[in-house]
């Protein structure tokens, strides 16, 4: 699964779209973990833009959890942003909103990452 990604200063925004479940989570995890290893370290942040994500199952949520663990181990951060209502509700139901920092927009997540990331986003 190729994930579209764009860099803003020390933050990488990754777009996740469609349905994420047991059928495609292996490929998604491999791609996501590669991005996290490269970008979410030493204060860097990965922001998952979930505006295109229609559904996520427990297997998909586990991928987010693994990515979060990896980021923490590298002293990096991972945020989620722009959730559709159904995905936002699944985050609450599964208590993932207590594990992840959830932002209404990608811009707000970038501002939490760094002033430079938000400024780069505004310029783009």
């Amino acid at each position: 699964m190729a994930l579209p990604a764009r860099s803003y200063a020390n933050a990488l925004v990754i777009g996740v779209a469609g349905r994420l479940d047991q059928d495609n989570c292996d490929a998604f995890r491999a791609d996501l973990m590669a991005h996290v290893e490269r970008s979410a370290h030493d204060g860097g942040a990965v922001i998952l833009d979930l505006s295109g994500l229609e559904y996520v199952s427990s297997a998909g949520l586990r991928c987010f959890m693994l990515a979060s663990r990896q980021a923490k181990a590298q002293h990096g951060r991972i945020f989620v942003a722009s959730l559709q209502p159904m995905v936002a509700e699944i985050f609450e139901i599964s208590h993932f909103n207590m594990v992840f920092q959830v932002f209404p927009t990608v811009r707000e997540a970038l501002a939490a990452a760094s002033i430079e990331a938000a400024a780069a986003f505004d310029k783009a």
């Binding site: 047991q22 989570c25 427990s58 297997a59 509700e89 699944i90 609450e92 139901i93 993932f96």
Partner: protein, 320 residues
């Protein structure tokens, strides 16, 4: 003849009890909910409590560890696990038998302490003529039962029990007819292994699947359990944690979540999911919250027939 499932113990790990403060807090919440209303009679107040208040205010999920009876309406008893709920279950058996010796068929998911601790307090074990058949896939089952009653841990040694007690070895995935009830064990992921049981009789299918962790990345495992749960009327499911806990800080602890219970039952086309093996640290309001979240998740992800979702509580009775 209809089957009836009776939950004598539904808590995981260790028994818990409501405290005096818990009861006071429930009363305070009820008074706030009543919001100045007055009731002319006990019946009026009872009707208000029964219909307008949350379960977690008027009830408790209870604190006994696993013990679930399948009442087939016949002379013999069938029960899963001998957690602390086995004590009230034993009282029930003695009262129903009225001095006649009973035949009790026990099915052991595994022999961790919370699943055997009620047996030393199981009254029928002390009645001569009682026949107890303990079915298990574990070679260590008899050893565990004897060990917990050995000195200095308990005053009555296992050998002193008056009942005739037989240990019956079951084989995983091999159906066995036990007095008309067909039971099939299935290996589950848990420290020291545990086994779920699929029970079938007269077209009714009940699955008891506790102390079972599910690795979400393993599609073959999910399909194996979907087959084990296939078209079940009731699935009693280890839903000890919220999903985020089950796959993070409590990963590899051998338990599952309400969300995975919904997903597997939907895959299996099961009719009724019963959340079970409640976390002892969770109060009644938290458990009711987990139930509501599971029901909402079922609504959000439903693609076929609705899946009924309940949470087990000590004293609950359901018909498959």
């Amino acid at each position: 003849m209809s089957m009836r499932i009776r939950f004598w113990g539904t808590r995981g790990s260790i028994p818990v009890a409501l405290t005096s403060y818990d009861i006071r807090d429930k009363l305070a919440r009820a008074l706030v909910e009543a919001s100045g209303r007055t009731f002319a009679s006990y019946e009026e107040a009872h009707a208000f409590a029964s219909t307008e208040l949350d379960f977690s205010i008027t009830h408790t999920f209870g604190g006994h560890t696993p013990c679930v009876e399948l009442d087939l309406g016949g002379d013999e008893y069938f029960v899963c696990d001998m957690g602390s709920g086995a004590r009230p279950f034993g009282v029930h058996v003695l009262a129903k038998q009225a001095r006649r010796p009973a035949t009790v068929n026990v099915f052991m998911s595994h022999v961790h302490w919370d699943h055997i601790m009620g047996f030393p307090f199981f009254g029928p074990a002390y009645v001569p003529g009682t026949r107890i058949r303990i079915h298990s896939c574990h070679d260590v089952c008899e050893q565990a039962y004897r060990l917990q009653q050995a000195a200095p841990c308990f005053p009555v040694d296992f050998a002193q029990l008056a009942a005739s007690i037989e240990f019956v070895k079951l084989e995983p995935d091999v159906p066995r007819d036990v007095s008309g009830l067909v039971v099939t064990p299935h290996l589950q992921l848990h420290s020291g292994d545990s086994y779920g049981f699929r029970f079938e009789k007269d077209g009714k299918r009940v699955v008891y699947s506790t102390d079972s962790e599910h690795k979400l990345e393993n599609r073959a495992e999910a399909e194996s359990f979907a087959a084990f749960f296939r078209d079940a009327d009731v699935v009693i499911f280890d839903a000890m944690y919220a999903l985020a806990d089950a796959i993070s800080v409590k990963a590899d602890w051998g338990h599952s979540s309400n969300i995975v219970g919904v997903e597997l039952c939907q895959m299996a086309n099961a009719r009724h999911l019963v959340l079970f093996h409640h976390e002892p640290a969770n109060d009644d309001a938290t458990l009711e919250g987990l139930l509501k979240e599971a029901r909402r998740f079922e609504e959000l992800t439903r693609s076929g027939e609705p899946l009924k979702v309940s949470a087990a509580w000590d004293g609950l009775e359901i018909e498959p």
